[in-house]
Amino acid sequence: METTTLIWRTMVHLVARDGTKPAASLSHTMEGRLQEKDEDSQFVALCQGGEPAAFEVLVRRHQKRMFNIAYRMTGDYEDAGDVVQEAFLSAYRTIKQFRGEAKFSTWLYGIVVNHARNRIRQAGSRAYHEPVSLDDPPARAEGTPAFDPPSREIPAVDVLVRKETQEKVQGCINGLEKEHGEIIILRDIQGFSYEEITQMLGIPDGTVKSRLSRARNALKDSLKKVFGDL
């Protein structure tokens, strides 16, 4: 009864916040991280005790960030959706194996990274790893991602330019080696700490640093080819 009340309150709380809690922005503050950790632990415990309703809260809380990780890694909007679904399904099935050594969100994002890797591997014949050519600007007839417009006051031309720029950057990221791309995404786009990346990717801290250094230099070269002068 108590757990049901707790879930209900949390659901009401989340729905009142437009259903999609901005987990990413909340995680950027220390207070937010602590709060997030506490709340996750609570619902994770409920899930582990056999309350599937509690998992819905975790889905609503983390799906957007997971989707962004998946999208940046695969470069495909639809694939990203599939990856997130598979990752959540996998997390739900194995949630009892989560022992709390790391934050639940770290564990969850590690899962989505793995699923995105698998998706990239499966689509090996597709041009995930081909560098973007200036002559072939990325064109998306369908499945175009719905970018959050920075402001409604920005002129339409600027929005289009911005969108095109971002797609080119995305193309450059996807043109990097897989391990370089994912570490750029986790560190420079999603803003995870070195420690979190270490836990997600299962690599030592020194490797994170050296890999990140190489990845940034590689991306710099790639972007210079696309944009000329940065």
Binding site: G19, A24, G50, P52, F55, E56, V59, R60, Q63, K64, F67, N68, Y71, R72, Y77, E78, A80, G81, V84, Q85, F88, L89, Y92, R93, P145, A146, F147, D148, P149, P150, Q166, V169, Q170, I184, R187, D188, I189, G191, Y194, K209, L212, S213, R216, N217, L219, K220, L223, K224, L230
Partner: protein, 353 residues
């Protein structure tokens, strides 16, 4: 001053604020003097800004519902069955209880279905008195293996082969002999009939056709009946003036279903008369053997004429009613008529016989 390569290696840590004060100062000193490295660092900083400025992308509408429905699908498949069974109590009582009941029911069923067959192989309970009376020599003659019931039930064959100790022959031999028979004279009789044995060893093929019908159609012998016969053996032995060795265990086999015990002054002549009566009543495979002064006439006869047979036997000699056994069975049944000499005519038999 540090080399450019060394400083460039520090750029990542520098940009991420991971350098200590001393290291940061060294890098900054180098940057103030090296425009090449400064430009590289500015590029990296610009890239960081670009990446950090990438828009957050909204997931497709309905993604949450898709995720939850897939979870419920997977969960239903797993939980639908297991939760119903286990969740109410969080323990596996339902399955364990079901398994226990299943095992018990199966055991009872198997026991009941094999009971008739087991009854055939069941050894009649041996009283301690009988066991004590047995001499060691007799015990040695007692076969340790139970005879196979599917062997020919013909008493003569069984009897003649009872003296042989080869396991194969023991298996083929059905073990029933008359109650009260001792093992030593039996061996003598067997030796005396060695010629007949040679002929009858080949007999199983002749009777093979009867065996299945006998074993299948015949009702399972009641355990009480077997015990009654065992008790009869014990009573006879207790009445004997000297401790008479009990017949081999094979003699206690319940193969012989019908038995008529007759007491006569002239057993051999009575046996001839009995054989004639049996033949007149349609009996077949009439055989006569003598063992320990007891003449045994065995035959296959129609069950319906058993009563008439008994009545006609009463006309020629006195029938020992307590020792006579009739059981219902198939149409054609095996009968054994044991003819003993009256007490005055045979010193080995107790008085009153």
């Amino acid at each position: 001053m540090k080399q450019c390569g060394d400083v460039e290696n520090q750029f990542t840590a520098y940009l991420d604020g991971l350098l200590g004060t001393g290291e940061r100062k060294i890098v900054e000193e180098h940057l103030s003097a090296c425009s090449h490295c400064l430009r590289k660092l500015e590029d990296l900083r610009r890239i960081q800004e670009i990446l950090a400025g990438l828009d957050e992308i909204d997931p497709p509408p309905g993604l949450t519902e898709k995720i939850l429905s897939r979870i419920h699908e997977g969960g239903e498949r797993k939980e639908g069955f297991f939760r119903k069974l286990f969740f109410p109590l969080h323990i596996k009582i339902p399955v364990q209880a079901l398994a226990t009941v299943f095992v018990v029911v199966l055991s009872v069923y198997i026991y009941r279905s094999t009971l008739p067959e087991m009854g055939r192989f069941e050894r009649p309970p041996m009283s301690p008195q009988v066991a004590e009376k047995r001499s060691p020599a007799v015990k040695e003659n007692v076969p340790t293996e139970r005879p196979v019931i599917s062997a020919s039930p013909e008493p003569s064959l069984r009897q003649t082969q009872a003296g042989k100790k080869e396991p194969a022959q023991r298996q083929a031999a059905a073990p029933e002999v008359a109650a009260g028979a001792s093992s030593a004279p039996k061996d003598n009789n067997t030796a005396g009939h060695s010629g007949a044995v040679a002929e009858r060893v080949l007999a199983p093929e002749r009777h093979a056709a009867d065996v299945p019908s006998f074993s299948k159609a015949a009702p399972p012998p009641g355990a009480g009946q077997i015990r009654t016969r065992g008790t009869a053996v014990r009573e006879e032995n207790s009445r004997a003036p000297e401790p008479v060795p009990a017949p081999p265990l094979r003699a206690e086999s319940p193969d012989v279903r019908n038995r008529i015990a007759i007491i006569s002054d002239n057993p051999r002549q009575t046996a001839l008369q009995a054989a004639t009566i049996i033949r007149s009543l349609g009996g077949t495979r009439i055989e006569e053997t003598t063992k320990d002064g007891i003449v045994i006439v065995s035959a296959w006869i129609d069950t319906d004429v058993l009563g008439e047979l008994k009545d006609r036997l009463k006309e020629i000699a006195s029938v020992d009613e307590p020792k006579s056994v009739f059981v219902s069975g198939p149409k054609s049944t095996f009968i054994e008529i044991t003819i003993r000499r009256t007490a005055s005519g045979h010193k080995g038999n107790p008085a009153g016989r």
